[in-house]
Symmetry: none
Subunit: 242 residues, 4 copies
Amino acid sequence: MSTQSRKQREIQEREQRILETAWPLLIEQGYLGLSMDRIAETLQYSKGTIYNHFSCKEEIIIALAIQTTEKRTRLFERAAAFRGTSRERIHAIGSAATIFVQLFPDHFKLEHIIRSSSIWEKTSEKRRTIMRSCERRCMGIVGGIVRDAIAHADLTLDDGIVPEDLVFGLWSISVGAFSIITTSDQLVELGIQEPFETYRQNVHRLLDGFGWRPLSADYDSVAVDDRIRAEVFPEEFRAISA
Amino acid sequence: MSTQSRKQREIQEREQRILETAWPLLIEQGYLGLSMDRIAETLQYSKGTIYNHFSCKEEIIIALAIQTTEKRTRLFERAAAFRGTSRERIHAIGSAATIFVQLFPDHFKLEHIIRSSSIWEKTSEKRRTIMRSCERRCMGIVGGIVRDAIAHADLTLDDGIVPEDLVFGLWSISVGAFSIITTSDQLVELGIQEPFETYRQNVHRLLDGFGWRPLSADYDSVAVDDRIRAEVFPEEFRAISA
Amino acid sequence: MSTQSRKQREIQEREQRILETAWPLLIEQGYLGLSMDRIAETLQYSKGTIYNHFSCKEEIIIALAIQTTEKRTRLFERAAAFRGTSRERIHAIGSAATIFVQLFPDHFKLEHIIRSSSIWEKTSEKRRTIMRSCERRCMGIVGGIVRDAIAHADLTLDDGIVPEDLVFGLWSISVGAFSIITTSDQLVELGIQEPFETYRQNVHRLLDGFGWRPLSADYDSVAVDDRIRAEVFPEEFRAISA
Amino acid sequence: MSTQSRKQREIQEREQRILETAWPLLIEQGYLGLSMDRIAETLQYSKGTIYNHFSCKEEIIIALAIQTTEKRTRLFERAAAFRGTSRERIHAIGSAATIFVQLFPDHFKLEHIIRSSSIWEKTSEKRRTIMRSCERRCMGIVGGIVRDAIAHADLTLDDGIVPEDLVFGLWSISVGAFSIITTSDQLVELGIQEPFETYRQNVHRLLDGFGWRPLSADYDSVAVDDRIRAEVFPEEFRAISA
DNA sequence: CATGAATGAGCCTTCATTCAT
DNA sequence: TATGAATGAAGGCTCATTCAT
């Protein structure tokens, strides 16, 4: 049995190596830039070996998307488990979203590739199911906190404003900032010295704007932020800082 | 002479059709997804004809980038010419940026493609020059308004905050929101019914946050916005609304 | 009529310019290296204009071959008209052959191209006829001198030796030497400082070897050579020396 | 292991077939006439298969050049090892050169193609090295015999005459004769019945002319020639005669 | 299972030739 | 007659995928 599991482990490890090799190819050159030849050559495996793990190129792509999506789900789960008020918990979700964007700034590009090429149809039902369940899980988590906040009267929404607008706001600012940061090569020329700090300020104004109590002026948002970092995502913050 | 100009016009039109055909291929499939074969097949022209217009694939890509970049430059120029306070003029620039993102949500993807593949080197000096001059022009316009605002004491910045942070903020929120809008297919499921409205609210909080007077509470920002729409970008708003 | 002839002259001149442009393309890159596009581009004519002169690529090639072949015929005719003994006249033919090789070292390459590609069949009957008649003329000239020599008893041949062996010898040495000179880039490394002089010596030994009287030892071959240069090919020698 | 070697052998054989197919295309049509498509079509292999053997067209060309150059080197080595006087050994080299020209009359055309197109730069360093070492080896062999001859006082050179002139003479006559033989289709009409015999006579006069003792009149050059044929190149002469 | 040779569709680009103006 | 846009057949090369060993 130890032989079995060793073998299993080796297979897992190789699979991981394949995905790690594929990632930059896909991100930098798009769908057609990912080449089985290049993966095989880089890893010094034969092409047949690659095909023993993934039956086609599209399976590799979807596997990559599953990896990041799963990571995001874990982050959201851990954030939602943070002990505190609903404001603090959505704050933690915001942090999770931020961390996710920072850890995987290219995830959105990957999602776009999947949607724009006709990849989805070529993938196995098994992997498609995993992907969908991850997405549903994330929605459920955020939805749960929102319901909690309303139940605790922390959040009263103006007419026409739904809780998800906040989520969208966080998400939107994060994606936008990081998209520009990764894309533009003239931020410094434009006069942006510390894009991350500007980004953080925007986030706080947005949270207040939705009136989710306590407002950032009424509680030590920085302290909470520090607590979240320290208690929920210590490793991730270390990784990001490095 | 009318014969001449008819032929010329036909050529221009076909060039435009080529670019219009190339655009989605490039955006959806990336650099390697843009194929001269597919363009020719789609337009029912021979490949040779395509090459009579563009000497290589890269020239098509740079021509696309020039088109949107020129459009942006025109929008910025018109916005900067808006008669009003510096707040109103930067507001107009914000509107221009917003319009640009809405009209060409994929422009940033295109810029990324140009930068990540080695396209730049294969293009003609002529087109490279056009591209560069457009970029310089945009920077100069925004820089000019910022200098005006500071000179008129409309803008006083906290320590460590530079005027360009505002530009970055506007830009960031715009790009992010539109990136999500174009990418995600589950916004409605997430509960975002009107993403554009949420996006607009964020923009206003950001402008106030930088303290560029008069604050939105102290002037009728909606009215100004309407004036900008009506006076500066009537056609564009019609196009976006459609 | 002067209008007519001016027009005619212009046409002739353009035809000549086309051929001059085609020559290096054909010699350096072979049949497929000769491109109507490049000719048109180089001369700033439209492709249609080129086709008004030559109905296809092959016609240009054959026209080039006709040009050099006609030049050779003229040289042979002038050599054969040299006043002197048969030895001196064949000497003059040798000089003509030498001059031809020096003036048109690439003629043989051109001939080879014509023979190896299926050019001949695509050319017009008119040009084919010109080509053939030139070749027959050359043969006739040399054959005539040989018959003269035998009639005058200047030449007595051993059994199995035919007069044409001499022609072949001259031709062979000339072609070989010039072929190496144009082809090899390591003659100096091989120790060959003055290939032309070595070549000339070989030629003289060959002529004596065939016993065509008077032998070079019995007459001032250098003086005759000088006379031929001065009286028959003054311009050509100037051109070669330059 | 026999499986291994069988596969290896098959690959070798196919490589050889590719080269054999490429040779006439290259010789008859030049650099641009050699087409991977045509090779693949002729051999009924897919284009990919050809590319598994040779990474580009240029590699095929250089491989062809290496093949003949290596053959020449072997011939020269065997000739230089002939037991006899320096005169006899250079005679053997002459025979080797002759044999080479007869076996590979198109080798010079190939060399010309390599030099006139920009092939050299696209080839692998490995093949370039092989090529260069072959050429150096040939030069060294001939240079060695020349030094021997001078050391043994078999060769005394007039002022201004260097030993290499002889080499050039042999080379020149060989190349020229064979060039004409392969190029011309009217040798018989010109009256040349046995071009090879004429060629041989010229060679002998040249050797004598340089005074390399013993002169051909003083030794039985025909017998030595026969000995070289029989002892050094029996197979080659059989092949040529066939 | 691992290997890597074979396949063939597809990509970018060139070019001889035609033809409407 | 001159022009030059349009055509489409190649050509060099890449790459996902298959399959015999």
